[in-house]
């Protein structure tokens, strides 16, 4: 077995990662700011045509049930609110940010299918729990982003992780810890720091495999359950997919009955189809 990697090794390599468009960084950094000039931001986003087009297609999808078709970022903000629009811009930007094919055996498309499905499921769960749906969507989309950090910074080491997982048929998380010494949770936290994610988002990324840990926050519980549901529904369409450990504490906290689940599964599959059509096209 080769040297184990540490958190610092990851941090040192973050500089080499692709950067998000400047305006997206600005949006992420302004998450708790009240006094930002929305008109200026909307204008900056509009200069990136691909980003604008993707964002507007998301805004016009049945996810939001808008009765008018929005045609500008400013309009999207008017109808959907600043929070929601910001999250859509982030989603559109992040899904196009990491290069494909750097690491042998890593299925980029399956990664994003899983992340998008988790975002959709988390959003439906959040609505059910009367929790902020925008936070849930974005956290669901980014909960495993540390995996892309590891794949991009250490492609050869990650190929070892994938080989180890196949040989032992364990979870990818366990394979990362054993074959690499660092997992996608810590790598995600490093990136969250680097990209200035809000505390809410950091907690969700850091706690999505251990939602019962004190201080993990309710969003971690939502993401944990959404992640398990999406694996169980087989939405990533990955041949060797598996359902990871499901926290009884988290499961109980959401108190899902049969009817709620039936609705949750259906709604997740529907929204997943629609969002992936926009984000993965």
């Amino acid at each position: 077995m080769r040297d184990q990697l540490s958190y610092d090794d990851v941090v040192k390599n973050l500089q080499d990662l692709p950067s998000l468009p400047a305006v997206v960084m600005e949006l992420l950094n302004s998450i708790e700011q009240e006094d930002i000039d929305i008109a200026v931001l909307a204008k900056k986003v509009s200069h990136d045509q691909a980003l604008t087009a993707k964002t507007l297609r998301l805004a016009n999808s049945s996810l939001y049930g808008l009765q008018v078709k929005v045609t500008t970022i400013q309009q999207a903000i008017t109808y959907l609110g600043f929070q929601t629009t910001r999250n859509l811009i982030t989603a559109a930007a992040v899904t196009g940010c990491f290069a494909e094919g750097a690491c042998r055996g890593f299925d980029h498309k399956a990664f994003w299918r899983h992340s998008i499905a988790t975002a959709a499921c988390a959003k439906v769960l959040a609505r059910h729990m009367r929790f902020n749906q925008d936070y849930a969507f974005t956290a669901g989309l980014l909960h495993d982003v540390g995996r892309l950090v590891l794949v991009s910074c250490f492609p050869e080491r990650y190929a070892d992780v994938i080989a180890y997982r196949e040989a032992h048929d364990c979870t990818l998380l366990d394979a990362e810890r054993t074959a690499m010494g660092i997992d996608h949770v810590d790598a995600g936290l490093a990136l969250a720091e680097h990209w200035n994610f809000s505390d809410t988002m950091r907690l969700a990324i850091g706690g999505h495999h251990e939602p019962e840990r004190p201080g993990a926050g309710f969003l971690a519980t939502i993401i944990h359950v959404a992640d398990a549901v999406v694996h169980a529904l087989d939405l990533a369409r990955q041949e060797d997919d598996l359902v990871p450990a499901v926290s009884t504490v988290a499961w109980q906290a959401l108190a899902l009955n049969e009817d709620t689940c039936l609705h949750l599964f259906r709604e997740t599959e529907l929204q997943f189809e629609e969002i992936s059509m926009v984000l993965l096209s």
Binding site: N60, S61, S62, G65, L66, Q67, K69, D169, C170, T171, A228, V229, H231, A232, L233, D234, D241, L242, V243, P244, A245, V246, S247, T248, A250, W251, Q252, L256, E258, C261, L262, F265, R266, E269, L270, E273, E274, M277
Partner: protein, 112 residues
């Protein structure tokens, strides 16, 4: 039943296909009832209602095909849950999820 329909984008839908569910517009009004045989005229109007995908009924299955599909689903669910022991009482959360997904995929009355 979830196993008997699939969502197709407008470009994949052909005239003659059958709606597996009633179709609502963005206001929640019923546009077309369940079981409608879609015509080219209807499909041409969909974009105007902001509809990009439709739930399409799959061709009726023979009992043998249905049984085969059901055992394929059960096998896949069993494989996905391979790290979980259905008899392990402490793993009840995963096992609840497994039961719910099984009901969802194969239909409740048959799974009971």
């Amino acid at each position: 039943m979830s196993a008997s329909f699939q969502h197709l984008t407008l470009s994949q839908v052909q005239p003659g296909m059958v709606l597996s569910d009633e179709l609502l517009d963005v206001h929640g009004k019923v546009l077309l009832p369940q079981g409608t045989v879609l015509t080219a005229e209807m499909l041409a109007l969909m974009p105007r209602h902001g509809i990009e995908a439709l739930p399409i009924a799959l061709a009726a299955q023979s009992p043998a095909e249905a049984a085969e599909e059901r055992s394929r689903q059960l096998e896949r669910i069993g494989y996905l849950f391979r790290l979980h022991d259905p008899d392990n009482g402490e793993d009840w959360a995963a096992n609840s999820l497994r039961r719910l997904v099984t009901d969802y995929r194969t239909g409740k009355e048959e799974a009971a």
